[in-house]
Assembly symmetry: C2
Amino acid sequence: MGLIDNINKLFDHRIRLGIMSILMVNEEVDFNRLKELLDVTDGNLASHTKTLENAEYIKIEKSFIGKKPNTKYIITRVGRKAFKKHIDALEHLIRNPE
Amino acid sequence: MGLIDNINKLFDHRIRLGIMSILMVNEEVDFNRLKELLDVTDGNLASHTKTLENAEYIKIEKSFIGKKPNTKYIITRVGRKAFKKHIDALEHLIRNPE
């Protein structure tokens, strides 16, 4: 049993950490708002949201606002549980490593 | 200014996070002890300690215990300061993203 075993490789990147942290405290957030909050490129954000979606940690809702397409992100129950476990492991590591 | 700007890319990996967390609360730790605590391979640990050493966040002391070579790791003042800043940014992100 290593100190970092409960750290989830899928959250082990600052942009994915940022996306999940934001979605933990917001019901839904759209692409542009995430991009603005994290100050990242379209491509970067799209690839990281894809990774989280493939893992079923977030889901995506596509709609139209007027004629404009809009993409919203929502954390899933599985995602919330997995991220909580990751944060607990991170805090344990930082607070009392050994 | 993005939410993740103060997150240090050099610490943005669970093994490097683990190494720094351990060295923050121990004066010095040798290679085998780090390997045991983190449950990682020799190669993995060697490459991550090398990255942290190149950034002057840790320093390495080589000595002999009897006839056996021993490698110890110590956090530097610069490393301690940078890691504290990283942890603060991580905790800010996790606690109150937006």
